[in-house]
C-alpha cells in the first residue's frame, strides 16, 4: 500500500514501543496488540459502569448530607470514567454500542470485585480504601502504557481515583474511631472486602494468561503478584492507623524479602466469580440490562428527533 512491508512495520512498531514512545490511533499496530487492548480497555470501562451499582444504592441512604454529596460525585465520576474509556477503545476501531452489547450479552467481563454485595455503610468506606486502592496500584503503571489514548485516559482517572481512595479511607477512619457499633461495622467491612480486593490483581503469575506479552508490549509493567504485594505492603500500615485488623493470621513482615507475607486470596472463588458465579453477578447484569432496555424508547426518540432536525 505505502510500499513498506509487514515486517518493517512490525519492526518500527517494536522500536517505537521500546523507546517508550506512544502508539497513536493512526499508527500501524499488530492485530493482537489491538485486540488485546480493546479487550482490556473494554473490561476496564465495563467495570466503571457496573461499579456504579454497589455504591450507588447507598446514595439515598448516606447518613449525612456531606457524605451523600461525596458519594454522588464519586458515582458520577465513575460514569465519566466509563465514558473516557469507551472513547479510548473507540480509537481502536470498535464502537461503544458494540462493546455495551458485549457486556450485556455477557461476552465481555468486568472486575470480579463488583459482584460482591455492599451490606452496610462501612462498605462504602472499604470500597474506597481497598477497591479504589487496588485499582490505583493496578492503574498507575498504565499511565505509562504504550497506547497513547489509554495512557492519557488513565492519567485523568488515576487522579480522581486517588481522591476517592482518600475519601473512603477517611470515611472508614471516622467509623473506626466512632461508636462501638460504628467500629464493628468498619471491621466487618474490612473482613469481607479484604480477600476479594486481593483477588482484583488476578490469578497468580504462574496461571496468568495474558501477562507476558502485555509486559513485552509495555501495556502491563508489573506482574499480578508484584502488584498484589505492593498493595498489601501499602495497606498494612494504613490498617494500623485505622485501628482495624486485617483478617489474616499469617500476615507478618518478612525482613528477608523486605515485604509482608500474607495468605493469598481463594483463586478458585475468583475463578467462579469471574465466570459468573459470584453472589451478585446475576443482579448486576439484570440491572444493566433493565436500564438498557427501559431506555430503548428514549434513544429511539432522540434518534428520530435528530433525523427530523437534519432533514
Amino acid at each position: 500500500m505505502d510500499g513498506i512491508d509487514e515486517l518493517t512495520r512490525e519492526e518500527r512498531f517494536d522500536a517505537l514501543v521500546a523507546a517508550e514512545e506512544k502508539v497513536e490511533p493512526a499508527d500501524w499496530m499488530p492485530e493482537a496488540y489491538r485486540k488485546g487492548l480493546i479487550r482490556q480497555i473494554a473490561q476496564h470501562a465495563h467495570s466503571e459502569i457496573i461499579g456504579m451499582q454497589p455504591e450507588g444504592s447507598w446514595i439515598t441512604r448516606a447518613p449525612s448530607l456531606k457524605r451523600k454529596a461525596i458519594l454522588l460525585a464519586k458515582v458520577q465520576d465513575e460514569a465519566g470514567h466509563g465514558l473516557y474509556l469507551y472513547a479510548a477503545a473507540e480509537t481502536l476501531g470498535v464502537t461503544r454500542d458494540e462493546l455495551v452489547d458485549h457486556l450485556v450479552q455477557g461476552r465481555q467481563k468486568y472486575s470480579s470485585i463488583f459482584n460482591y454485595p455492599t451490606l452496610t455503610w462501612a462498605d462504602i468506606g472499604a470500597i474506597g480504601w481497598l477497591v479504589d486502592g487496588a485499582a490505583i496500584v493496578n492503574q498507575v503503571p498504565l499511565c505509562r502504557c504504550s497506547y497513547g489514548p489509554y495512557a492519557r485516559a488513565m492519567v485523568r482517572i488515576c487522579k480522581e481515583e486517588s481522591f476517592h481512595q482518600r475519601q473512603g479511607y477517611e470515611l472508614l477512619h471516622t467509623l473506626a474511631h466512632g461508636t462501638p457499633a460504628q467500629h464493628a461495622m468498619a471491621q466487618d467491612a474490612l473482613d469481607r472486602w479484604w480477600y476479594p480486593s486481593l483477588a482484583m490483581f488476578g490469578p497468580p503469575d504462574t496461571d496468568s494468561v495474558h501477562s507476558a506479552r502485555s509486559i513485552q508490549w509495555k501495556i502491563k509493567r508489573f506482574s499480578n503478584d508484584e502488584l498484589r504485594q505492593r498493595f498489601v505492603d501499602m495497606c498494612v500500615p494504613q490498617a494500623e492507623v485505622l485501628g482495624l485488623r486485617i483478617p489474616d493470621d499469617n500476615l507478618r513482615w518478612n525482613p528477608d524479602r523486605g515485604a509482608h507475607d500474607f495468605t493469598p486470596p481463594d483463586y478458585d472463588e475468583l475463578k467462579r466469580v469471574i465466570t459468573g458465579d459470584g453472589p451478585c453477578n446475576a443482579e448486576r447484569m439484570a440491572h444493566r440490562r433493565a436500564a438498557h432496555d427501559d431506555g430503548a424508547w428514549v434513544r429511539e426518540a432522540a434518534a428520530a428527533y435528530a433525523s427530523k432536525r437534519a432533514a
Binding site: L65, K66, A79, L175, W297, E300, Y305
Partner: protein, 247 residues
C-alpha cells in the same frame, strides 16, 4: 423575623433536598450513559443548594445543623412542594418534574439574588446559575421526547398531564413569604407559564387545562403524600439508627 426567614429558607431547601434525593435513586439507570452524568450533576447542584439553605435555617434558629434538619424531622415538618416528592416514574416523568421545578426555581432564584437578606441573596445567586442549566437540559429532553416517536410523544404527554395538577401548588401564596417583604420573593406564575408553554409548543405537546392542587395536600404546610414518608424512611434510617454518632 429570623424564625420566618428560617422557615422560608427551609421551604426552598427542602424542595432542593427532596429533588436531589429522588434523582439520587437513578444512579446507573439512565437511557444513555451521558445522562447518568447529567442527572448526577443536577442532583449535586440541588443537594449543594439544599445544604446551604438548611445550614442557614439551622443558624437562624440557633439549633442543630444541616444534618439535624435533614435527618431528624418527620414528614409533617418538611416544607417541600409535593411535586418533588412524587416517584420518578419513567424517564418522561423525570424530565417533566425537572422542567416544572427548574422553570420555577430559575426566575425565583434570580429575584432572590436581589433579596434584602444578603446571605439568602448569595445562595440564590449561585443556585440560580445552576438552575439555568437544569432548565435548558429539561427543555431539550421535553422537545426531543415530545417531537420524537409516537411512543415518546405519548409518554411525554402523559407525564405532563399527570404532574400538571401538582404544579399549581408552586403558586399558592406562602404566608411565611408574605411576612418577609423585601426578603422573600413571589414566584411569577406568568413567567413560569410562558417558559413551560414555549417548551411544550416546541415539543408539539398539548398544554393541559387548568387544574387545582389535589385536595388535602399542602407541602409548605407539611401536608404530604405517603411517598414522602417512604422517601424519608429510606433517607433517614441509618442516621437515626446511631443517635449522636459522627459520620
Amino acid at each position: 423575623m429570623s424564625a420566618d426567614l428560617a422557615l422560608y429558607a427551609l421551604g426552598l431547601g427542602d424542595d432542593a433536598l427532596i429533588a436531589a434525593q429522588r434523582l439520587g435513586e437513578l444512579y446507573a439507570s439512565s437511557p444513555e450513559m451521558e445522562e447518568d452524568v447529567a442527572l448526577a450533576n443536577i442532583a449535586l447542584d440541588q443537594l449543594g443548594a439544599a445544604r446551604l439553605l438548611l445550614g442557614y435555617a439551622a443558624e437562624l434558629t440557633g439549633a442543630g445543623d444541616e444534618d439535624t434538619l435533614a435527618f431528624l424531622r418527620g414528614p409533617a415538618e418538611f416544607r417541600n412542594h409535593v411535586l418533588v416528592e412524587l416517584p420518578n416514574g419513567d424517564f418522561a416523568v423525570t424530565v417533566a418534574k425537572l422542567l416544572f421545578l427548574a422553570a420555577w426555581q430559575r426566575p425565583l432564584y434570580a429575584r432572590l439574588a436581589a433579596s434584602g437578606d444578603e446571605r439568602l441573596a448569595g445562595i440564590a445567586a449561585t443556585a440560580g446559575l445552576e438552575t439555568a442549566y437544569h432548565l435548558d437540559h429539561a427543555t431539550q429532553w421535553t422537545v426531543r421526547l415530545g417531537d420524537g416517536t409516537p411512543e415518546s410523544h405519548r409518554r411525554m404527554q402523559d407525564a405532563i398531564d399527570r404532574l400538571w395538577p401538582y404544579t399549581r401548588e408552586l403558586f399558592v401564596a406562602d404566608p411565611v413569604a408574605r411576612r418577609l417583604p423585601g426578603i422573600a420573593a413571589d414566584p411569577d406564575r406568568a413567567e413560569w407559564t410562558g417558559t413551560v408553554e414555549a417548551a411544550l409548543a416546541e415539543a408539539t405537546l398539548r398544554v393541559p387545562g387548568e387544574a387545582g392542587v389535589p385536595a388535602g395536600l399542602d407541602g409548605r404546610a407539611g401536608r404530604h403524600t405517603e411517598h414522602l414518608t417512604e422517601l424519608l424512611d429510606e433517607m433517614q434510617r441509618l442516621h437515626r439508627a446511631h443517635p449522636g454518632a459522627r459520620w
